[in-house]
């Protein structure tokens, strides 16, 4: 079946729905999601969304937010995109409030703001209250509010449709192919404009804060269509995942004053970031935690975790501002954080890299920023790049909302000029063949075993600390896993809700772009932001102050290119906190 819409957006998280709200003012928009909109992983974000509203700190200013974001990115963020992000932030937040987001409030009735890692006043002097929050349900209430606004604006949703193919002919995007999960069967979505907002890919790691659905589908579809991905080696490991589970415990806890303690009960951040302490950026805090554990100062019988201590914040304040943290600890960790410190470990959380786009959300296909006509992306799946080598907490909800809006506006502007170009003769041919091949797999390998081997080995060899030796090893492991993937077995041949085939397709996606993460990390012989090489511990601005572009051809060959970083007001400096 073929559906025709002006615009088709894949993904119904914050970026996808915010874009839909803009584009649907002037065009017929369809949003495709493999879940339901309210199930998207934006809803798991807890702590806040950054903007210089000055509701708590009257001396905060937009320029401080820019500086913090650039420094936090370890100077790999593009400063034009960061200027846009920080300039637009206040207006973007006020809009969400007008839409109905139930923010927590200051005593005067303004949007409440709290501290978050890496956000400071006067270029690092003191922590800034810049994170606007709704208790620790900030992502959840934003997601639901955008969904509500989409209902109001009658945006057409195709829920439980999974994108399985991207149609690009001669650098012109014509739409996508999607699988109807509820009924079975392929559908073509033929559109003038196509946008990816498919989120992240934390599921390639063993310990992750990400949902089962976070399998990077949009990235893999771009890669298969011959398009490059940018900066894939930069993966953020969040410092405070619940021990063994990886479930996110918001940085909002540290924003409210929580301590990090090692097995000796020391506030070990003193050694690594004496000024900002627990509120240093995530890459530094995660490395500090790993270092404590590697040097034998971890907690517990295996000395394999550290503690997050919120007891001194007090039961009343915890219930008021971080209630979800307590319920997550009680339900998933069997720990009551009012009485005991919480065991935590680093957890794969966010992909700074992704589909390369211009500041306005247009997808590019080479080092010269040439445009793929009619293709757009925003949110975690995109690389603008506002986060560079390390994202600051609360800048992701802002990125998804601000750049979702920006990209929606770009589409609204472009739509009059874009035509509904003719589809190729059989636009589903490749996809049909690929799904048929997966569905008919009668080999010996179980998908779950390959998936576990992928995430265990990525955790082991491509985690917080990396080395040439480990990455070489991982490169070979991925080749072996791809080989084993050809021998999988599919049990389910039904049409209705065949999640067996969908999970196998997702595994295929993850194996392919994991090669870019690993080989990109191997190629980048320096340490910058979240990419930390023990064999190259220093940042190297002479050779590596640039973005990685990587392509993967049908035979699995990877080719690399690079793109300069946009530098405006801030020259790279040593990064201390």
């Amino acid at each position: 079946m073929t559906h025709i819409h002006d615009v088709v957006i894949i993904g119904a998280g914050l970026a996808g729905m915010r874009a839909a709200l803009e584009a649907s003012k002037v065009a017929d928009v369809a949003v495709i999601t493999k879940l339901y909109p309210s199930r998207s992983h934006s809803g798991a974000a807890q702590g806040g969304i950054a903007a210089t509203l000055k509701n708590v700190d009257s001396d905060d200013c937009i320029e401080f937010h820019m500086f913090d974001t650039v420094k936090g990115s370890d100077y790999l963020g593009d400063q034009d995109a960061i200027e846009n992000l920080c300039n637009e932030a206040p207006e973007v937040i006020y809009e969400t409030e007008h839409m109905g987001v139930p923010y927590s409030r200051t005593p005067e009735g303004k949007i409440a703001q709290r501290k978050f890692g890496g956000h400071s006043l006067h270029h690092g002097k003191v922590a800034a209250n810049r994170a606007c929050y709704a208790a620790d349900y900030t992502g959840h209430v934003l997601l639901h509010t955008f969904f509500e606004q989409c209902i109001k604006q009658r945006v057409r949703f195709y829920s439980e449709f999974q994108a399985v193919g991207l149609i690009v002919v001669d650098n012109r995007c014509l739409g996508i192919v999607a699988w109807d999960i509820q009924k079975g069967g392929l559908h073509v979505f033929h559109a003038k404009a196509t946008m990816f907002a498919t989120g992240g890919y934390g599921r390639v790691f063993k310990i992750t804060s990400n949902a089962h659905a976070s399998t990077g589908d949009g990235l893999a579809l771009c890669l298969r269509a011959g398009l490059p991905l940018e900066d894939m080696e930069f993966v953020q490991f969040h410092p405070t995942g619940l021990y063994k589970q990886g479930i996110l415990l918001s940085e909002g806890a540290r924003g409210e004053g929580a301590y990090l303690l090692n097995g000796l009960n020391e506030r070990f951040m003193e050694r690594y970031a004496p000024t900002l302490m627990e509120l240093a950026p995530r890459d530094m805090v995660s490395r500090s935690i790993q270092t404590e554990i590697l040097e034998g100062r971890g907690a517990g019988p295996k000395k394999d975790h550290v503690w997050l201590d919120i007891r001194h914040i007090g039961e009343k304040r915890i219930a008021a501002v971080i209630p979800q943290i307590r319920s997550l600890c009680l339900n998933f960790g069997g720990v009551d954080p009012i009485k005991q410190p919480i065991p935590i470990q680093t957890t794969a959380h966010y992909s700074m890299g992704g589909i390369p786009v211009t500041c306005d959300g247009r997808v590019i296909y080479d080092e010269k920023n040439s445009l793929v006509e009619g293709l757009y992306a925003a949110g975690e799946c995109a690389c603008v790049s506002v986060h560079g080598a390390n994202r600051l907490g609360t800048n992701s909800l802002l990125d998804a909302t601000a750049n979702g809006r920006r990209t929606g506006r770009t589409i609204a502007n472009d739509i009059g000029k874009l035509k509904l170009n003719a589809l190729p003769e059989n636009p589903m041919e490749d996809t049909q063949e690929r799904i048929g091949r997966v569905a008919g797999s009668t080999g010996r390998e179980k998908v779950i075993h390959i998936r576990h081997d992928l995430r265990d080995s990525m955790e082991e060899n491509c985690g917080v600390f990396r080395s040439g030796e480990r990455l070489q090893k991982q490169k070979q492991i991925l080749k072996d896993l791809l080989e084993r993937y050809r021998q999988i077995k599919i049990d389910d041949q039904s049409k209705v809700f065949n999640t067996d085939i969908m999970e196998a397709l997702e595994l295929g996606y993850m194996l392919e772009f994991s090669e870019l993460i690993v080989e990109g990390a191997l190629r980048r012989t320096e340490s910058r932001g979240a990419h930390s090489r023990t064999d190259f511990p220093k940042r190297d601005d002479v050779n590596w102050l640039n973005h990685t572009l990587a392509w993967r051809d049908a035979s699995g060959q990877i080719r690399f290119g690079s793109k300069p970083v946009v530098i405006k007001n801030y020259q790279p400096m040593e990064r201390k906190y």
Partner: protein, 233 residues
């Protein structure tokens, strides 16, 4: 330890009616029902279908009936069930699409009917609309609803009358009617103050027991009733 899971299976392409299928599986300490379903699907039977995503209780995908109670599979520790044999079934009150997956279309339609969005005809200021911390607290807990429908499908009034809006849609109505920024109460009363609306709630409290977010749903519905009575009668 090893436990037996009796899972209600249904595949309309093959089965005339649903039937229980038994699976034995190892459940280490800390295992949730979702972990068990994941293992069964991956290791024993790839045809088992269920919805899941966040596995941390916030997306609302994995509501199902576990030993007779509506729960989120991801939030339910196997040990807490204290039974050797565990029954897992789809949420009651909705048509079953396959195995543990129900058709939520009737719910999404009801949700739309109550106009689930802020209605405010006054042009907004250039900054935020002010709201007192006290007014925000009136709606805060209600906004934590994850639309999992554990409540809706536990409601005997809904089992008896499928047209009834049900607790989740009413909770959403409460969240807007009691939002100091909202001006749409009158429009919503037209839907709430009907035969299939607010008055079908008989204060049975099943919804509150079922809510994985521990929201005081019945209390909010009662406040909504009081408000409608005081403004309309």
């Amino acid at each position: 330890m090893i436990r037996t899971f009796k899972i209600l299976r249904f595949n309309l392409e093959k089965d005339k009616k649903p039937h229980f299928q038994n699976y034995q599986t190892e459940c280490p300490p800390g295992y949730t029902v979702l972990d068990v379903l994941y293992d069964i699907k991956g290791l024993q039977d790839g045809t088992l279908s269920y919805r899941r995503s966040c596995r941390s209780g916030v997306c609302g995908s994995c509501g199902m009936k576990i030993n007779g109670v509506n729960l989120l599979a991801c939030k339910t520790q196997v040990e807490s069930l204290k039974k050797k044999v565990i029954h897992v079934e789809p949420l009651p009150g909705f048509p079953v699409m396959r195995d543990l997956i129900v058709d939520l279309t009737p719910f999404w339609e009801k949700l739309e009917n109550i106009k689930p969005y802020l209605i405010n005809h006054t042009p907004p200021p250039t900054t935020e609309r002010y709201q007192s911390a006290e007014d925000q607290l009136k709606i805060e807990e209600a906004t934590w609803c994850i639309l999992c429908n554990c409540c809706t499908s536990s409601c005997p009034s809904l089992w008896a009358n499928k047209e009834y809006l049900g607790p989740a849609a009413l909770l959403k109505a409460y969240r807007f009617v009691f939002d100091s920024r909202d001006e749409g109460a009158e429009e919503r009363y037209k839907v709430l103050n009907t035969k299939s609306g607010l008055w079908r709630c008989h204060t049975i409290f099943n919804c509150m027991d079922a809510c994985p977010q521990e929201i005081n749903i019945t209390e909010y519905i009662s406040k909504l009733k009081t408000r409608v009575v005081s403004e309309r009668y």
